[in-house]
């Protein structure tokens, strides 16, 4: 019995970590711009395809393909900011959100047109698919995903709390006018946020691709759950996004195991509805309220 619980817990945390990585991108852009970027999932998909191009099609080393893919995502973040957000930055949030949806459709269809509809296989980082630890099988890719998520939590804390750039980004997200009066280049900070979010989304896509395969739909599937995780955690809160993502992964995995497999996705959205009704500010909502 305990072995099953541990196996489910490991898988739930693994899949939750993927939601958390994408959710983090949602949160960072929301904090900086006050809009939800519905193309965040497509960042994951594009990065996974870039990996396939570099690593599989061109046969370049995995680490080089990884770095190039993330560099490509940074570039995409710049283009996205300049092409989608920047021209609409003085408009209300609605046109920007619609623009992100449009960009998401454009990215999905561009990849479809360039690369075709075939799902692709991307090998993981490790030769060994996983390790057996007592009764529990630990998928090496999920282990990597969890490790990267932990590192990112630490990195985000250090970056946003301990570095000047992080503090400038925080200041920009909290009050753009005040930040501007203090000599912070708001446009540059927003640009950096988009780059970082695109890289984070891309990282999630590259990490999860060996598990879920590389397909046009992979981004939207993950993004939907990540969006729910963001609301559960508290929109605008970095820790909330991580906790929300992990919680969602664990809840849906245990819900599937002990209640119903076909309604697995339903559990995630039931939790979402519960939060929307009883705690719309999310788990870490108080800090957001204070900020507002």
């Amino acid at each position: 019995m305990m072995d099953i619980v541990l196996q489910l817990l490991f898988t739930g945390i693994g899949i939750g970590a993927v939601y958390a990585l994408v959710a983090l991108g949602f949160v960072l852009i929301f904090r900086a711009t006050n809009v939800v970027n519905f193309a965040q999932g497509e960042f994951s998909m594009v990065a996974a395809y870039l990996m396939v191009v570099f690593s599989v099609d061109l046969g370049w080393p995995y680490w080089l393909s990884f770095l190039l893919s993330l560099a490509g995502m940074a570039l995409l973040g710049v283009i996205f900011n300049l092409g989608v957000y920047y021209p609409l930055r003085h408009r209300s949030f609605l046109p920007v959100i619609i623009a992100t949806i449009g960009a998401s459709i454009l990215m999905a269809n561009s990849v479809l047109a360039i690369y075709g509809p075939q799902p692709q296989v991307l090998q993981g980082w490790f030769e060994t698919p996983g390790i057996q630890l007592g009764p529990v099988y630990l998928d090496s890719q999920y282990l990597l995903i969890i490790a990267v998520t932990i590192l990112l939590v630490i990195f985000n804390y250090w970056f946003f709390e301990k570095t000047m750039l992080g503090k400038k980004l925080q200041a920009t997200s909290q009050d753009k006018e005040m930040a501007s009066l203090l000599g912070i280049s708001v446009s540059a900070m927003i640009m950096i946020t988009f780059i970082y979010s695109a890289v984070l989304g891309g990282l999630a896509g590259i990490l999860v691709a060996p598990v879920l395969f590389v397909s046009i739909q992979m981004g939207s599937t993950i993004a939907l759950k990540a969006f729910a995780a963001t609301i559960i955690g508290g929109f605008g809160d970095v820790t909330g996004a991580i906790i929300g993502g992990l919680a969602l992964g664990v809840i849906e995995t245990f819900g599937a195991a002990y209640i119903s497999v076909p309604y697995k996705d339903g559990f995630a959205f039931l939790v979402l509805i519960f939060f929307l009704i009883f705690r719309p500010q999310g788990i870490f909502g108080e800090r957001v309220a204070e900020k507002a």
């Binding site: 489910l8 599937t221 599937a256 076909p262």
Partner: protein, 381 residues
């Protein structure tokens, strides 16, 4: 020359009538059109491409042999986007063209269900690949199936597992869409008839990202054999990997998706040693071998059921129109239902009055990525 009022009237009349006469004459000399709804985009776009290629190969063969009723066949493809609304829209576009005499629907039962009311309203023959048994048993006389239905696959999977592999404790895993639900039910019913009811009947939602709970349920059930109905290959690929990773090595007999090209590519070694019911098996007959050769030559990939059923559908539809000697839908329908002992790529067609052309399945085995024909089993149903 003096233009009289009568000459003027005659000129006007000729001017009005002439374009119609010319277009009518053109229409009579034009090609015969067949419409095809295929997933050009969406999750099944890859297999959709194979389907279109299969249909076009049949079209070329028919046209080389003189066409249909002395005319060349033309295939009009509309994208069904792999969705139910998509196929309804695609079919309505095709149905609006009065020159289209017959259609190819979907391999996906849910999509065929979605388009079925419009098919009934239009009243023209539609060849389908969807294997939900209900499709040809719900009073829609215009649907003709070019694959064996799931009531047959269920009984063949059960027969092979129980009588050939000697396994009695079954776990049945199926998608919760129309195809998977019908397939899972057919397998469970067949197992009950054989006196070996399943120990686990587990559904899952399409596009699941993780099957750990499912694999653990199979382990806990104590099943010694697994029967499955997967709709999408990426689901099958993820499940197959996790099944092996979590140490489940029981024999696995799956529905046709377990041996299709995309699934083999995605799952790789995780599917080695599995069995599948396959409506198309290259070595099962001379006609299957012949199709396999022309498909490999033209497309450069191994043939599978995604391409073989549209190939047969176009061939059977063309032969039926030729036999009917007319494009009248009722006469074509009668000719399709009269098709007997027709050697197709999928097997020998003997249409019954419900519109089902095939009544048995081949069992194939995945031997290190190669799909090897084992035996053909005619359904006991």
């Amino acid at each position: 020359m003096k233009l009289t009022r009568r000459d003027f009237a005659a000129g006007i009349a000729a001017g009005i009538v002439a374009p119609h006469i010319i277009s009518s004459a053109r229409a009579q000399g034009a090609t015969l059109k067949i419409g095809m709804c295929a997933p050009v985009t969406g999750p099944a776009a890859e297999s959709g491409g194979y389907a279109v290629k299969g249909a076009k190969l049949a079209l070329d063969a028919v046209n080389k042999a003189g066409g249909v009723m002395g005319k060349q066949l033309e295939l009009i493809v509309e994208d069904d986007q792999t969705t139910n609304p998509g196929i309804v829209l695609a079919f309505s576009k095709l149905a609006a063209d009065p020159d289209i005499v017959g259609f190819l629907g979907s391999i996906r039962s849910t999509q065929v269900h979605a388009m079925a009311p419009d098919v009934l309203k239009l009243g023209k023959p539609v060849m389908i690949g969807g294997t939900d048994p209900n499709l040809t048993h719900m009073g829609n006389q215009w649907l003709f199936r070019c694959r064996p239905n799931d009531s047959y696959s269920g009984s063949v999977i059960a027969d092979y597992g129980v009588n050939t592999l000697g396994k009695k404790k079954w776990a049945v895993l199926h998608s919760t869409d129309a195809f998977g639900t019908a397939g899972g039910k057919a397998l469970s019913d067949a197992l009950t008839k054989l006196g070996t009811p399943s120990v686990l009947d587990q559904g899952y939602a399409n596009q699941s990202q993780d099957f750990t709970p499912v694999v653990l349920a199979i382990k806990q059930s104590g099943a010694d054999i697994l029967g499955s109905y997967f709709t999408f290959e990426n689901d099958l690929g993820i499940f197959a990997r996790q099944l092996r990773q979590l140490g489940v090595t029981i024999p696995w007999v799956g529905s046709p998706s377990i041996v299709n090209i995309t699934a083999l590519k995605l799952a790789g070694p995780a599917l080695y040693g599995t069995f599948g019911v396959a409506d198309y098996a290259e070595d099962s007959s001379d006609a299957s071998k012949a199709f396999g050769k022309i498909y490999r030559d033209a497309v450069k990939v191994a043939p599978d059921n995604q391409s073989s059923w549209p190939y047969d559908a176009v061939t059977i539809l063309s032969a039926a129109i030729n036999k009917a000697g007319s494009t009248d839908p009722t006469k074509i329908r009668e000719a399709i239902l009269a098709t007997k002992k027709f050697a197709g790529a999928e097997g020998e067609y003997n249409f019954d009055q419900n519109g089902d052309g095939l009544h048995g399945y081949n069992i194939v085995k995945n031997e290190k990525g190669n799909i090897v024909f084992d035996k053909h089993i005619e359904s006991a149903n």
